[in-house]
């Protein structure tokens, strides 16, 4: 008989499952529209992607059974790999000779993903901690109800009732602190008596992760009306945030309640020995593990049709945000609404009437599956994507912060630095790897367009490696990491990412044409020196898997990471684009204000990068 730890299938660095070596892994991600399957095999010492297949997701009518789409995607894998995996509608497992796979895993965001509401006493403190816990668990946070959010109690009641979340995370108060406010929040939820979004046959799951002293009162108010689960306080004290117990409970309840209600999920759950993970949680998982294992600071972004997810790991702290209405099709019009016309227009390299641009964007919103046919239309979409990414990253920076409300002991020297509590953890100069995924970045006709969009939107500083996840297999790798970190990271590094190359971005402002950087690169063909002027962009070709030792000497007043005017030694990595030198300045980054000058510069940069057809790289 298997022991508890064996049956859970402990993560193992060498890729074993229940003591048996994993030779083949099949993983699916059931998205809202497409179910994507990947087959991974161990080849020698390494795990590699063999093939991928996809099929439309079948959660909605007429099929209403997610497993249909999964089977279709697996059948495509069988065809492409020339290997039998299915026996009728059963996955053959473990692998037997050349048939079957050793393990099957899945993630899911079908049916709108996990939609949650969170509460806290003070919005910027426990409210924000609850939001971070829910987002980190892969949820969409529909609203934060806080004692001090300015709404009257009956307005809060109506809001809870109208939103119909899948789950509520009830937090508030520190352990040993006042109980009144968090109990009041429980009373508001009890009065709203919310009904779950999917199915009326079960009670709404509520996770209580607030002041432990108020547990009895909360149970009294919500115990019979809802499916109440109590876990550790997410903010046991002002100085401490403890999100993991709440995140685990969210995952458990997501499986037991929300997923189990979706059509076909009970069957799907029975196929895998590992719980189905919400897709964004899986993506966060792989990014977090890779960042920690390789001691890197990473930002990842996934820009979709409706939402943009941003993930980061800085100082070992993982954060995730979802910008629910920033996307490239369903939400494209909202990007314009939030960014404002002028911000979108600044990236459009030609003249266009406001009314024309507005109508084009709205027409994309109402016909979201159409694609740009002309170069002009492509440039408009890429202009919008820069703003969607910029806004999503701005929201991320605002949430990925240190704890607010913490008293900091200061010395006299700190008064000059003014590092307030609640300061963002995102340090662009320390960013090692920026990974982009989602249609507009993964399928840009030229890879350099993706690099350029990311540079404009995220404004990395100093040396940063750029990559795209071209086939978006991070979700599958995230759930695989639960079983084998080695298998997941092997495939992530070798097959998942397409390295675009290192970027070098100069901090500081100067006059156009002023010398700002001297770069001495030890390239495969020999040592070369480059003198770069302010206001320019340049590419130096360097292939994937090649590196160049570089000495970067910024001119006086400019900085590439070692301080103003100080030289920096760095190892630059090649990629499908090459090394990108961005000398347009930072802090602040500014585009020319004059319309004609801006278009002239844009054309110049486009030529230097070889970004668009008709403009050869100069």
């Amino acid at each position: 008989m298997a022991t508890a730890s064996e049956s859970k299938g402990p993560d193992s660095k060498d890729g074993t499952w229940n003591g048996r070596e994993l030779k083949s892994i099949l993983a699916t991600d059931c998205g809202s529209t497409t179910t994507k399957a990947v087959l991974i095999e161990k080849r020698g010492d390494e795990y590699r992607l063999v093939v991928r297949g996809e099929a439309p997701t079948t959660v909605e009518a007429p099929f209403e059974d997610v497993t249909r789409g999964v089977l279709n995607a697996i059948m495509e894998i069988e065809e492409l790999a020339g290997r039998k995996i299915l026996d009728g509608e059963r996955i053959i497992s473990p692998q037997n000779g050349t048939e079957g796979v050793d393990i099957y895993l899945s993630t899911s965001s079908a049916g709108g993903g996990l939609q949650m509401m969170v509460t806290g006493v003070v919005k910027a403190m426990t409210g924000e901690s609850a939001e971070r816990a829910a987002l980190g668990a892969g949820a969409i946070v529909m609203d934060i109800v806080a004692s001090n959010d300015g709404r009257l109690p009956h307005e809060k009641v109506r809001r809870i009732r109208d939103l119909r979340p899948d789950m509520i995370l009830l937090s508030g108060g520190i352990d040993g602190g006042t109980k009144t406010h968090v109990v009041e929040l429980a009373e508001i939820i009890a009065a709203a008596d919310p009904k779950p979004r999917l199915g009326q046959a079960y009670k709404l799951p509520i996770i209580y992760a607030g002041n432990k002293d108020a547990t009895a009162e909360v149970k009294e108010r919500l115990g019979s009306k809802t499916d109440l689960v109590v876990t550790d306080n997410i903010r046991p004290s002002m100085e401490l945030e403890n999100l993991m117990p709440a995140r685990h409970k969210i995952h458990d309840l997501f499986m037991e309640h929300v997923m189990a209600q979706a059509p076909g999920y009970r069957k799907l759950m029975s196929w895998s020995p590992v719980p189905i993970m919400p897709t964004p949680a899986a993506v966060g998982n792989i990014i977090e593990r890779v960042a920690k294992e390789r001691h890197m600071q990473v930002v990842g972004v996934d820009i979709g049709g409706a939402t943009t997810d941003v993930f980061s790991v800085f100082q070992g702290v993982f954060n995730r945000t979802v910008s629910a209405n920033l996307g490239m099709s369903y939400s494209v019009s909202n990007v314009l609404a939030e960014a404002g016309l002028a911000n979108v227009m600044r990236w459009v390299p030609f003249s266009i009437e406001e009314s024309d641009l507005r109508n084009r964007i709205k027409n994309k919103m109402i016909r979201p599956t159409t694609i740009p046919q002309t170069l002009e239309e492509l440039q408009i979409e890429q202009a919008i994507s820069r703003e969607a990414l910029r806004l999503a990253f701005q929201q991320h920076k605002a949430l990925a912060v240190g704890l607010k409300g913490v008293q900091q002991e200061r010395t006299i020297s700190d008064t000059f630095e003014q590092t307030a509590s609640g300061e963002t953890l995102i340090n662009l100069l320390g960013l090692n790897l920026l990974v982009g995924s989602g249609g507009v970045l993964s399928h840009a006709p030229r890879r350099v367009q993706s690099a350029w969009m990311m540079l404009d939107a995220f404004l990395p500083e100093g040396v940063t490696d750029l990559a795209v996840d071209s086939i978006f297999m991070m979700p599958q790798l995230g759930v695989l990491a639960e079983v084998s970190t080695k298998a997941a990271t092997d495939v992530f590094v070798r097959d998942c990412l397409i390295y675009l190359g290192s970027s070098v971005s100069v901090i500081g402002r100067g006059k156009d044409g002023q010398k700002c950087l001297k770069a001495t690169l030890d390239l495969p063909g020999g040592k070369k020196e480059f003198d770069l002027n302010f206001g320019t962009m340049q590419i130096v070709p360097l292939d994937v898997d090649q590196t160049a030792e570089a000495v970067l000497e910024p001119a006086q007043g400019f900085d590439v990471g070692a301080g103003k005017g100080k030289s920096l030694k760095a190892t630059l990595k090649g990629g499908v684009v090459g090394l990108v030198f961005d000398c347009r300045g930072r802090q602040p980054f500014a585009l020319p204000e004059s319309h004609d000058e801006r278009i002239k510069k844009f054309t110049e940069w486009s030529g230097a990068l070889g970004a668009y057809p008709g403009l050869a790289r100069s």
Partner: protein
């Protein structure tokens, strides 16, 4: 044969229109299977729980929360009238010192000695669901609602604002390229569903509202006008809840767009009929488009075909739904199986189309929609 499936908007003279009319909460269905109903018939009703009004009773009386129960004159479940005293504190001499009055008529939902709050619930809010179309009740969903079916014409728009309404169909223009200007709307259009041509402006919609026009059906609308009409920049296409007075259905898209001839001609053919219109649009998974339903008595009982879509094939009529040929009609002449490069260099599935003027173009398959026949 190579083919692809690109569904278009439904524009058909004979369709079986099936509408599920469901209550937001369980309640009472007031019609039965087989009943003939009109759009205005109430088919189900229920009561939504009343709003909640919390009262900080302990702090009003200046007493400790834990002692609240001692001062309550009402207990949980008791009915209360507006301004009725629900709690009172006493002085040493037995005189009332301070009172808590109910801010509403309703019942006492809960009394909390932890927060010192009394939660009052207002009376239930009655909700009625109408049939929305003239038809026959074909199914009763116990305690939840009904399914109403009708045979008739069915036209989907691409985008709309405003909710369900009904009225007699009238034409305000003679051809689909004419713009629906405010001078074309007349007092006799009150209570009617007015069909315009290529575009409607905010001025015309304001005039329609003023005249009491129930709905306007047009080819296009400028986004700048939409922003003025709504009072905000619409970010995500989830509409139908706007309280405009006049429902708007756009059949082609944003900008000045000549209404598709097929849609215009069908509407013209049905002038004088009673129609049901809904502007509600949801563009996300489980897409919902605005619609015009015209139940036809002559077609009643006929089991109209559902319009099986075999996908795009050589000879299929299509409409282009993106620049640079937006709105053009044509016929598929080639469906190459391999991916081909666009001007953008993107490699995509394409098709060759012959337009009505005889010219030809290669377009991404994603940028055309099949015109259902």
């Amino acid at each position: 044969m190579a083919h692809s499936y690109t569904p278009g908007l439904r524009v058909t003279e004979r369709a079986r229109v099936v509408k599920t009319r469901r209550l937001p909460l369980k309640g009472q269905v007031v019609v039965k299977k087989g009943d003939k109903v009109t759009a205005e018939t109430v088919v189900a009703r229920t009561e939504l729980p009343g709003n909640v009004q919390p009262v900080k009773a302990a702090s009003i009386m200046g007493v400790h929360q834990q002692d609240l129960l001692e001062y309550m004159l009402k207990k949980e479940g008791d009915p209360v009238q507006k301004d009725e005293v629900i709690a009172a504190s006493k002085s040493f001499f037995g005189l009332f010192k301070s009172q808590v009055k109910s801010p509403c008529t309703g019942t006492v939902e809960s009394i909390s000695p932890v927060t010192g709050q009394v939660i009052l619930r207002e009376p239930p809010i009655p909700v009625e669901v109408h049939a929305y179309i003239d038809g026959v009740v074909t199914e009763v969903i116990e305690s939840e609602g009904v399914v109403v079916e009708a045979s008739g014409a069915f036209i989907q728009g691409i985008f709309g604002i405003g909710g369900e309404t009904t009225g007699e169909l009238v034409m305000a223009v003679d051809d689909p390229a004419t713009e629906l200007t405010d001078d074309l709307l007349k007092p006799e259009h009150r209570g009617k569903v007015v069909v315009g041509g290529s575009r409607v402006t905010k001025q015309t919609i304001a005039r329609a509202k003023e005249l009491g026009v129930r709905a306007v059906v047009v080819g296009g609308l400028d986004d700048q006008d939409l922003k003025s009409i709504l009072g905000y920049d619409l970010g995500v296409a989830i509409t139908g809840h706007e309280n405009l007075g006049t429902t708007v259905v756009v059949t082609e898209g944003f900008g000045r767009m000549t209404m598709a001839g097929r849609t215009f001609n069908l509407l013209r053919k049905l002038v004088g009929k009673k129609v049901s219109v809904n502007g509600a649009t949801q563009i996300r998974a489980g897409v919902m488009r605005p619609e015009i339903v015209i139940p036809l008595v002559a077609a009643a009982g006929e089991d109209a075909p559902e319009g099986e879509n075999l996908g795009l094939q050589i000879g299929s009529p299509i409409r282009v739904i993106r620049m640079p040929h937006f709105g053009w009609l044509g016929e598929v002449v080639e469906l190459p199986p391999e991916l081909r490069a666009l001007e953008t260099e993107a490699m995509v599935r394409t098709l060759k189309v012959k337009f009505q003027d005889g010219s030809e173009a290669v377009l991404p398959r994603a940028n055309v929609e099949a015109i259902e026949t």
